[in-house]
């Protein structure tokens, strides 16, 4: 019995020491950048682990591609050719509109629209912590990636780069609870802030007054305010609007445009003000 009690008191002492150390670490991590080199070193060492962790996904993709019948591939090819033709047609019209827009802006003596370029990247890791929405991508400083760089998928804005290493980087997704993004309603230009809430399929719109002109189905795009994200990229669609008596603001849920938890191939965005090496138009 005595042995049991002495064992528990030793355990308690050890536990207290560990908790004290953990609290110190939390303070150091939150208020200083002393541990950044250690993070970077471990991240570089962990890269092979990310590669191994992705093997099942690659095998699944490979087997899905191998098992697709030839007729399906041919019909897919035909559909993609048609789509490409349609997009090329639309692009010609867009070039015309862009040129017209530029002429009008020059007439107004306004700043020229920035031409953005992109770099294709692949997701090599996803945060294992469900409350922290981050991705690891296979591009780093060697490819001209920089902190704060916007990340897109084919459908819309995904997030921004928060850590850069030589051959890989970490991006914070727009659905992370610590992320906020200035947006406006495409229909009428109403400005607001889209905040993440640790749900991959939802964003919340903040500070919209109950009298504001906003409807379900309204599309939201980045407003470019704050200077981090360029203006005009799709962010999401208004899913539902709730107003509770006594609340100063509406509760608005947004369905993100980007396939946040599914997209594998992404685009790193360079605006013409970013002097980026290796960017491909």
């Amino acid at each position: 019995m005595r042995n049991v009690f002495s064992r528990s008191s030793t355990l308690l002492r050890k536990l207290l020491v560990v908790i004290l150390l953990a609290v110190t670490l939390m303070i150091v991590d939150n208020f200083t950048s002393w541990l950044k080199p250690a993070y970077s070193a471990v991240d570089n060492l962990a890269r092979p682990l990310y590669w191994i962790a992705n093997i099942p996904l690659r095998v699944q993709e490979w087997s899905a591609n191998s098992a697709t019948p030839r007729s399906e591939i041919e019909s897919d090819n035909l559909r993609l050719t048609k789509e490409s033709l349609i997009y090329h047609g639309q692009l010609q019209r867009m070039s015309d509109l862009a040129a017209e827009n530029l002429r009008l802006r020059r007439l107004l003596n306004a700043t020229e629209l920035l031409q953005d370029s992109v770099l294709v990247t692949e997701v090599i890791g996803v945060s294992a912590n469900p409350l922290r929405h981050t991705l690891t991508i296979d591009r780093g400083t060697a490819d001209g990636v920089f902190i704060g760089q916007p990340l897109l998928d084919a459908e819309g804005l995904m997030g921004q780069i928060i850590k850069v290493h030589k051959r890989h980087s970490t991006a914070l997704l727009i659905t992370d609870s610590s992320h906020a993004l200035p947006v406006h309603v495409l229909r009428n230009g109403l400005r607001s802030i889209a905040e993440g809430n640790a749900d991959y399929n939802r964003l919340n719109l903040k500070f919209v007054s109950p009298t504001a002109d906003i409807r379900e189905g309204d599309e939201l795009v980045s407003s470019g305010l704050g200077g981090l994200y360029p203006a005009g990229y799709p962010v999401g669609t208004v899913l539902n609007i709730a107003s509770e008596p006594g609340d100063n603001f509406l509760k608005i849920d947004i369905d993100p445009s980007a396939e946040i938890d599914r997209s594998r191939h992404l685009l790193l965005l360079y605006t013409s003000r970013d002097s980026a090496a290796g960017a491909v138009k």
Partner: protein, 158 residues
């Protein structure tokens, strides 16, 4: 396995747990994924209580914090609390059946997860507490495999 190889065995299981933790999933599976690192640490402490304890668990927690991008020190506390509970009960836990051991692990994980979620809620941060039952269930289902693997890998006594 020779006792000289015990470090290799521990490292091997930890690497496996990290790989499973980093495996990309979509939809609700991301939130439901068991904490494989924590399960492996608990299995090692149950099977090897005299050599591995709170400091081992805290070190793995620190590694988890860095790899899984949590606030540094967060998993250290969670792992140390679970390790302390397991270390206290390890003398009895060794003689429990697989199901009883799975239930014990589920109970400890639940208590620590509720404590963790309370802290998150207190600070107004999302806690994902609604997904906890599914996560616990999946942890219980994963436990027998981890327990058996660790039992096979643990060094034989001289």
């Amino acid at each position: 396995m020779e006792s000289d190889n015990r470090g290799v065995a521990v490292c091997l299981t930890l690497i496996l747990a990290v790989v499973f933790s980093l495996m990309p999933l979509s939809g609700d599976w991301i939130v439901w994924k068991p904490n494989f690192l924590l399960l492996v640490v608990m299995a090692w402490i149950i099977h090897w209580p005299n050599d591995l304890g709170i400091f081992f668990a805290a070190s793995v927690g620190l590694l988890g914090d860095i790899l899984l991008r949590m606030t540094l020190g967060h998993s250290v506390v969670v792992f140390a609390l679970c390790a302390a509970a397991i270390a206290l009960l390890s003398r009895w836990a060794k003689y429990l059946s697989m199901l009883q051991r799975a239930l014990l692990v589920a109970l400890i994980i639940s208590l620590v997860a509720v404590l963790e979620a309370s802290v998150f809620i207190f600070y107004g941060r999302p806690s994902a507490i609604e997904h906890l039952p599914m996560k616990i269930l999946l942890s219980m289902l994963a436990w027998p495999f981890i327990d058996r693997l660790v039992a096979r890998l643990q060094p034989k006594r001289a």
